[in-house]
């Protein structure tokens, strides 16, 4: 518990700094997920006809991508896109967008 609190304090410090300079760690999840933005909007927030994917649960996103791969979920282009990702990559993408506000 105390370790958790310490972490929280540390994190709020980083956020306070962050208002000055924002530096994002470039992870594999970031590399994978940024390419989704051209259709689903920056950070998964779509301004138009394509569904937003930010803030959805990890479980929902993982399931949807697997169902697209297996053809269980009706799709146009997503059935084709989903074939390009491994299970591990799907998990990383789902984690990324579920954590976007």
């Amino acid at each position: 518990m105390s370790r958790f609190l310490l972490l929280t304090v540390f994190m709020s410090c980083s956020i306070a700094y962050a208002s000055e300079v924002l530096a994002m760690e470039i992870t594999r999840a970031v590399m994978l997920s940024n390419s989704c933005a051209a259709c689903h909007g920056t950070d998964g927030k779509s301004p138009g006809a394509i569904p937003s994917i930010n803030g959805k649960s990890t479980q929902f996103l993982v399931q949807a991508l697997h169902d697209f791969q297996d053809g269980k979920r009706p799709a146009t282009v997503m059935g084709r896109h989903a074939t390009g990702y491994s299970d591990e990559e799907i998990q990383l993408i789902a984690d990324f967008f579920s954590s976007r506000p």
Partner: protein, 426 residues
């Protein structure tokens, strides 16, 4: 204009009065803190790269150089040509990028000097960079066209750079009499937006069907096959029966010479075709800026490390978008947006002196055959040292899909435009 020599460049600097002792500045190259990134070209590649550099590290000093105050997108310009949309609806500004802290300069680049890492601008400024990103788009190989040069594009528009050319082709179609012949001549590979000419043919047919139903479209192609060919041909049969005739390169489509005054095309096979409106799309090469900076190969394109987009010619210069050869990726706005992000990640990783994780690239090209009939080709890509950028998944829309599927893809085409323009310019 040929490549500037270093001596000339320094002279140029002295002349501009901005900087004199150029070599001394080299040592000020920053590592991490306030590194200077100069991006040239404010289209899908350059603007996205600027935006994501800023997202990755807001301490970077990012300058985006783009002559136009409004970027007119090639995507959806075929909808303007066919009267479905206005020029305003495909015009994007730079206010949002400025608000993100990116310094947007509306001027041209006069010269790039890779040796001293400097860019001289038409407005007299000289910028020093730690990393330079060029996203100059395409230019045309007019020297490969017999009987026509750049100035003739006022009579025979290419409309392959959106803007005044788009309006010109639109106006010519409106002025044409019913029963006229429109000739569209797509170029050899590689070129900007592989399905683009065929979307254009479809949407011109859509316009003619409504307003000039006796007219015909003749396609004289410099290739024997084209992107999403089976889907386009099925759609043409369904939507515009008898209106479009496509002639492949080897069956008489290859053009030998153009007579601009009489709007006549002479083919290699010895045929002569007169058009009431001609849309000749010339063969292409990397934008002139890349040529002048010595970044293009003999074939006219820029070769890069496909993981980082750093030029094979010059260190610390990256080339993205249509101008670069990016493995299996097509030359397209979506691809440029994807490359802009990978390039931004590569630059920030290199400045932080950390390894960039494995890149992932995506492309989707939607094409409309009518306002409610869309098709697409999609692909996911990875990089390997041996293969460069290669495909890991994707595919094209199915043949024989029902009307609901085509309508959904037409809706998604518009949704894609809204998302990518916001992701790039928003």
């Amino acid at each position: 204009m040929s490549q500037f020599s270093r001596r000339k460049f320094i002279k140029l600097l002295a002349g501009s009065g901005a900087l004199v002792s150029a070599p001394g500045l080299l040592t000020s190259c920053s590592k991490g803190a306030r590194a200077k990134i100069v991006i040239v070209g404010g289209g899908f590649g350059g603007a996205t790269c600027a935006r994501y550099l800023q997202k990755f590290d807001s301490s970077l000093k990012i300058t985006l150089i783009e002559p136009s105050r409004q970027f007119i997108t090639c995507p959806f310009s075929n909808m303007v040509i066919s009267g479905m949309q206005t020029m305003d609806s495909i015009s994007q500004g730079y206010t949002a990028l400025t608000n993100h802290g990116i310094n947007v300069l509306h001027t041209r680049v006069r010269a790039v000097d890779a040796a001293v890492r400097m860019v001289a601008l038409d407005n007299g400024d000289v910028l020093q960079y730690d990393r330079l990103v060029l996203s100059p788009g395409i230019d045309f190989k007019w020297c490969d066209v017999e009987g026509m040069d750049e100035s003739d594009a006022e009579i025979i528009p290419h409309a392959w750079k959106a803007g005044a050319q788009t309006t010109l082709l639109r106006n010519q179609l409106r002025a044409m009499d019913d029963g006229g012949v429109v000739i569209v001549a797509p170029p050899v590979n590689p070129f900007r937006c592989p399905p683009g000419p065929y979307e254009r043919i479809s949407l011109i047919a859509h316009y003619l069907k409504q307003h000039k139903a006796k007219s015909k479209i003749l396609v004289l192609d410099a290739k024997d096959t084209f992107s999403k060919q089976a889907l386009f041909m099925q759609g043409w049969e369904e939507l515009y029966p008898g209106m479009i005739e496509w002639v492949s390169a080897s069956k008489g489509g290859r053009i030998d010479e153009i007579d601009v005054a009489t709007r006549t095309l002479y083919t290699e096979s010895g045929d002569r075709h007169k058009g009431d409106v001609i849309n000749f799309i010339p063969p292409q090469k990397a934008g002139v800026l890349a040529q002048n900076a010595g970044l293009a190969n003999d074939d006219g394109w820029c070769y890069v490390n496909q993981r980082t987009f750093e030029s094979k010619e010059h260190k610390y210069i990256h080339v993205i978008g249509d101008a670069s050869i990016a493995g299996k990726m097509p030359k397209a706005g979506f691809a440029a947006n994807s490359q802009g992000k990978v390039c931004a990640a590569a630059i920030v990783s290199s400045l932080r002196e950390v390894a960039m994780p494995e890149p992932s690239y995506v492309n989707t090209c939607y094409s409309l055959l009518s306002p409610g009939y869309g098709i697409s080709v999609a692909a996911v890509y990875r990089y390997s040292k041996d293969r460069g950028i290669y495909k890991t998944g994707g595919g094209v829309s199915p043949l024989d899909a029902d009307a609901a599927y085509r309508l959904q893809e037409a809706r998604f085409a518009k949704g894609w435009y809204d998302s990518i323009t916001m992701d790039t310019f928003g």
